[in-house]
């Protein structure tokens, strides 16, 4: 959430909660043409996989009957090819579950994304209706986490709640880099991230950057700190998604159109990017 909106929203929430001034209304939205939506994250060591879906008009009905939800959402019959280092890698249609990320994709292959931070990857998709989606990307270098420091408010034995300070070093102070920080407690997949936000090294004076938590995590628990080094395209896309989610229902917010890095005739939304991150698991100890 954009920082400057926090205070007016707090104030508004307190007023509105007191008055219950929300009610349903019927409105007509402008006509909407459905668009293909692509998510493809090329992670070294993981297979080439992507999710190709289609958007809906906002008031279109949700069909959540068993098995129908995915069929209605997934874009079928597309031809997908990723080119890298002079080689074409076709992605087949199907349902692919990635056990590491716990994510599902509908186009994929068993071929593994190489750890190549220099050469471009190119995407070419031809949809069943003839529309095309193209894009290019690279994989950014991984930014290592220097250390995860646990601190307690005091040395007292009764003080068993720690905070975690995650330190890393700006990979290139001469340019602005964008990072995504995730912090998980006890599970990477069964609970929402405790923290998940974008950051920048724009203001770091000496190249050292830290992300912190509150004194909230008990001795014996497990935490995961993740730092993504993001391509500019990916950071812009992710930020526009977050702004879109947060602007709906925020009178102080300014919505944004989705900032995609996709070309072609299909007018698609989405992102084709390399993915690079460092993740540290830590057990809280005193």
């Amino acid at each position: 959430m954009k920082f400057q909106y926090i205070f007016p929203i707090l104030f508004l929430i307190s007023i509105l909660a007191a008055c219950n001034l929300t009610n349903d209304v019927e409105i007509d939205l402008p006509d909407y043409d459905r668009q293909p939506v692509l998510e493809c994250y090329l992670e070294p060591g993981q297979p080439y996989q992507l999710l190709l879906t289609r958007s809906f008009g906002f008031f279109a009905p949700f069909d959540t009957s068993d098995g129908q939800f995915l069929e209605n959402v997934l874009e079928q019959g597309a031809t997908v090819v990723i080119k890298h280092d002079g080689k074409s890698i076709p992605l087949n249609e199907g349902l692919f579950f990635n056990p590491f990320s716990f994510k599902v994709f509908n186009y994929g292959t068993t071929e593994i994304v190489p750890e190549d931070f220099d050469n471009e990857f190119e995407l070419e998709i031809t949809l069943a209706d003839g529309g095309t989606i193209t894009s290019k990307t690279t994989i950014p270098v991984r930014v290592p986490i220097d250390s995860v420091v646990l601190e307690f408010e005091s040395d007292a034995a009764t003080d068993t709640l720690a905070r975690a300070l995650t330190y890393f070093t700006d990979p290139d102070p001469s340019v602005e880099n964008r990072f995504r920080r995730q912090f998980h407690w006890n599970s990477l997949v069964d609970s929402s991230a405790q923290q998940d936000f974008l950051s920048t090294d724009q203001f770091a004076d000496n190249g050292r950057i830290v992300f912190g938590t509150g004194f909230d995590y008990p001795v014996g628990d497990t935490i995961w700190n993740t730092v993504f080094n993001m391509n500019r395209d990916y950071a812009d896309f992710y930020e526009s998604v977050i702004i879109s989610i947060q602007s709906n229902g925020n009178p102080f917010g300014q919505p944004a159109s989705i900032d995609s890095n996709l070309d072609g005739t299909a007018d698609a939304l989405g992102i084709f990017t390399g993915l690079s991150y460092s993740r540290e698991m830590t057990i809280i100890e005193k």
Binding site: P8, N23, D31, G57, D236
Partner: protein
């Protein structure tokens, strides 16, 4: 010869040729006889020759009359008993007049000559409001607010329910020049725009120009809001105050030396925080209790003035206001405060009966600061704009046909944009950022109010403005012309043209006012904004069923250039490369306004209607465009706007006020589509991400609201027994939204989820439907305020 030189030379020649010695000049200052306050816009009228003038913003008047002839000169001002003096000038004469205040605003018979002066004046597109009117009209939570009342006048729609944001004739909220005793107020809002910074008890007068801007004003495109503080009673010590449900206020004023110098001190403070602290204290033992943050605001206005002799007057005034938002606990210490400081030193000097000068030095400062301390780490972010201004203005009654006004100003601006200092206490981690700029803004102007014929008056002028910043220099010529043709004694036609340049810009990505909005100078990339506005209209005084009514009808067309907007998703908060987020375009607005006003009798008020259409477009910038440059309507593009305002004196004890407003709904940018977003490992699946298309394509439902006010005077029996009793008090009962209309503050699309079983038998949340939800701000909202004065 350069055009500017030619212009000045012609003016001088004309002025010299017109000068004649067979007339003498009557001049002086009009004041409130009870308090010594100077009266702005009071009328001086000579019925025998049908000539008159009005006092300027310092109460000064000067009128040339034929020598050695007896004249009845009438001095009048709304709310005051008229005074007539017989004059026979054999030399220039100075005459200061103290007008006697009427018993009640509604009781005073306003003579036709105040309307006549309005019919004769070249000024158009001007709205004026008195604090007496403000106090008679309903107010939210009992907080009288002069900026909200001025929004009831045609052509000045607000930024939405509950806000003080002004969008005058299609202009943005940063395009209003707001001056308090001649010092610029950069953020006129408290509490995110719910209240204005102007304490009604301390304000003497507010005048708003929507167009036809006089050349002495510059620096903003769309309006000038000139607020004058009271000077303080120089006759006797007095006070006023009030106790409301969210704030209290107190004003004290009196002579330092009777008739020569006086002071006024006025303050108010809200007490939300006292209430929330008690609530927090009561709940401190409750498990998982989340304490309510502290919030309050306060204002302090002070002014002293000294009459240094017959020809000199010195005024010193200041304003200090702050909003404070804070949250403390043992691990976390958060503070957010913002506010304005202004101060003015003003020297009025009368060189002779025909030449009057006003010289001011002003200081303005608006800043916000966010600070946070967490064990071992601190964070500080602040932005500010600070001005020091020197200006001098001359008023010269050249002859009975020409009144010159000329002057110059120079302002030094200092900008701090997003200064960040954060890091660990041990220095291992350090973040810093922000930019500092400065600039100098110049203004030089001359204008002549010229009575070309008994029916035609023309005010022509020229302003030369400039701005320099880091080697970049911009300048612009701003011609201003206004004319009034009096068709009959009760009907006049008016027209005006004004060009304006704006050199400082507000960086605000929200339709609502936020304290974190920052001001930004013109730079090499950011060129000055410009506007050209043409307005035509007419005024008519007529009687309907024996009631005198004043009708004003105006039409305007405004062209805007070098407008600033922001790319989608712009990061305006703590960004060292802010300019990269800007896009530059143009726009236009046009419309018509009609107002029917009744100022006399027990029932007074007005009906106003505005039609307008606003477009912005052609926006391109370093990082992209807005809607491929296509034109779009800003969210405040309100097609129809109606306000009906009534004030009624029921009897000695009761006085009522009512306002009803109607407006086409504002525009809103709602998502037209949605898609699912799986995201990367470790992040939640988002079943619904809104997809936004073109900007502002959905119009909110129409807005309408009735507000009522009843003032019950207390202690009338005691007053009758003792007419010299000074203590007066009343209870003011106000009801906002009397018929409980649920107006849309905003609309959002809400997604409903339900648990479903997946193929593996696990329960998962899946979206099942979407509903549009409207959020309103005010239900029916009563308030009670106790007011007193002595």
């Amino acid at each position: 010869m350069r055009p500017t030189h030619l212009f000045i030379l012609l003016w001088s020649l004309f002025a010299t040729a017109s000068f004649a010695q067979d007339k003498f000049t009557l001049s002086g200052v009009l004041t409130d006889g009870e308090s010594g306050e100077t009266l702005i816009g009071a009328t001086v009228y000579v019925p025998q020759i049908g000539e008159g003038t009005t006092t300027n913003e310092y109460g000064f008047y000067s009128i040339s009359l034929p020598a050695n002839q007896p004249f009845q000169v009438e001095f009048s001002y709304i709310g005051f008993q008229n005074t007539t003096r017989e004059i026979n000038l054999s030399a220039d004469q100075k005459m200061d007049i103290g007008l006697g205040e009427g018993l009640e605003l509604q009781e005073v018979v306003v003579k036709a000559n105040s309307y006549q002066e309005q019919l004769r004046s070249t000024e158009m597109s001007v709205e004026q409001i008195s604090t007496k009117e403000v106090k008679t009209l309903p107010s939210v939570l009992g907080e009288t607010d002069i900026l909200k009342v001025i929004q009831l006048k045609p052509g000045i729609p607000s930024g939405g329910e509950g806000t003080t944001g002004l969008y005058v004739r299609g202009g943005g909220q940063d395009q209003n020049l707001i001056v308090l005793d001649e010092a610029v107020v950069y953020n006129p809002n408290h509490l995110f725009g719910f209240f204005s910074t102007f304490n009604t008890d301390a304000v003497k007068d507010l005048k708003l120009y929507k167009g036809g801007f006089p050349p002495q004003y510059g620096g903003r495109l769309s309006s000038v809001i000139d607020v004058k503080l009271k000077e303080g009673n120089n006759k006797r010590f007095s006070g006023a105050g009030g106790l409301g449900i969210i704030s209290s206020r107190l004003t004290l004023e009196g002579p330092i030396e009777k008739d020569k110098s006086s002071f006024i001190v006025s303050g108010r403070r809200t007490y939300f925080d006292l209430i929330t602290r008690q609530v927090n204290k009561a709940n401190e033992d409750v498990e998982d209790n989340q304490p309510i943050p502290d919030y309050y605001f306060y204002d302090l206005n002070t002014k002293i003035n000294f009459k240094l002799g017959e020809k000199d007057h010195l005024y010193l005034s200041g304003y200090f206001g702050r909003d404070q938002f804070g949250f403390d606990n043992e691990n976390f210490n958060f503070g957010f405060n913002w506010g304005n400081v202004t101060s003015t030193a003003r020297w009025n000097h009368q060189f002779n009966p025909k030449l009057f000068s006003n010289t001011t030095v002003t200081f303005s400062d608006y800043r916000y600061k966010i600070s946070n301390e967490i064990v071992g780490f601190s964070f500080n972010l602040d932005s500010k704009i600070r001005d020091v201004n020197l200006k001098t203005d001359f008023y010269q009654n050249l002859n009975s046909k020409n009144t010159l006004r000329y002057g110059a100003s120079v302002t030094y601006h200092e900008f701090t944009v997003g200064r960040l200092k954060a890091g660990s206490d041990d220095g291992e981690i350090s973040f810093s950022g922000g930019n500092e700029y400065d600039g100098i803004e110049y203004g030089l102007y001359i204008s002549d109010d010229w009575e070309a014929s008994p029916r035609l008056k023309v005010n022509g002028g020229l302003r030369l403005s400039g701005f320099s910043n880091d080697g970049t220099f911009y300048y612009g010529l701003e011609p201003r012309v206004a004319a009034n043709y009096k068709v009959t004694n009760s009907f006049s036609l008016k027209g005006s043209y004004a060009r304006m340049n704006q050199y400082v810009h507000l960086v605000s990505n929200s339709g609502l006012s936020l304290p974190t909005d920052v001001w930004y100078p013109s730079t090499k990339l950011v060129e000055p904004q410009t506007s050209d506005q043409v307005a035509v209209g007419g005024s008519s005084l007529f009687k309907l069923f024996g009631t005198e009514l004043f009708l004003t009808n105006e039409y305007f067309y405004k062209l805007l250039d070098k407008q600033i907007d922001f790319i989608d998703g712009a990061e305006l908060f703590a960004n060292d490369e802010l300019e990269q987020e800007f896009v530059f375009g143009d726009g236009y607005a046009y419309g018509g306004e009609i107002s029917l006003e009744k100022r006399t009798g027990d029932l007074t008020g007005w009906i106003g209607y505005t039609y307008s259409k606003i477009r912005r477009g052609n926006f391109f910038g370093p990082k992209g465009d807005v809607m491929e440059g296509r034109y779009f309507a800003p969210r405040y593009d309100r097609r129809h706007d109606i306000s009906i305002v009534g004030m009624y004196k029921i009897n000695e004890r009761f006085r009522a006020g009512a306002t009803w407003v109607y407006g086409s709904g504002d525009l809103s940018w709602l998502p037209s589509g949605r898609f699912t977003f799986q995201d990367v490992g470790g992040a939640d699946f988002q079943a619904v991400v809104p997809s936004y298309g073109d900007r502002n394509t959905f119009r909110l439902p129409a807005f309408h609201r009735l507000d009522l006010n009843l003032i019950i005077k207390l202690g009338l029996k005691k007053k009758r027994k003792n007419p010299n009793r000074r203590w007066e008090s009343d209870l003011t009962v106000s009801v906002i939204n009397a018929y409980d209309r649920r107006n849309a503050f905003f609309i959002f699309l809400d997604v409903e989820f339900a648990e479903r079983m997946d193929n593996d038998g696990n329960l998962i949340d899946l979206p099942t439907g979407v509903t549009a939800k409207q959020v309103s701000l005010f239900p029916i909202l009563p308030a009670l305020t106790y007011n007193f004065k002595f």
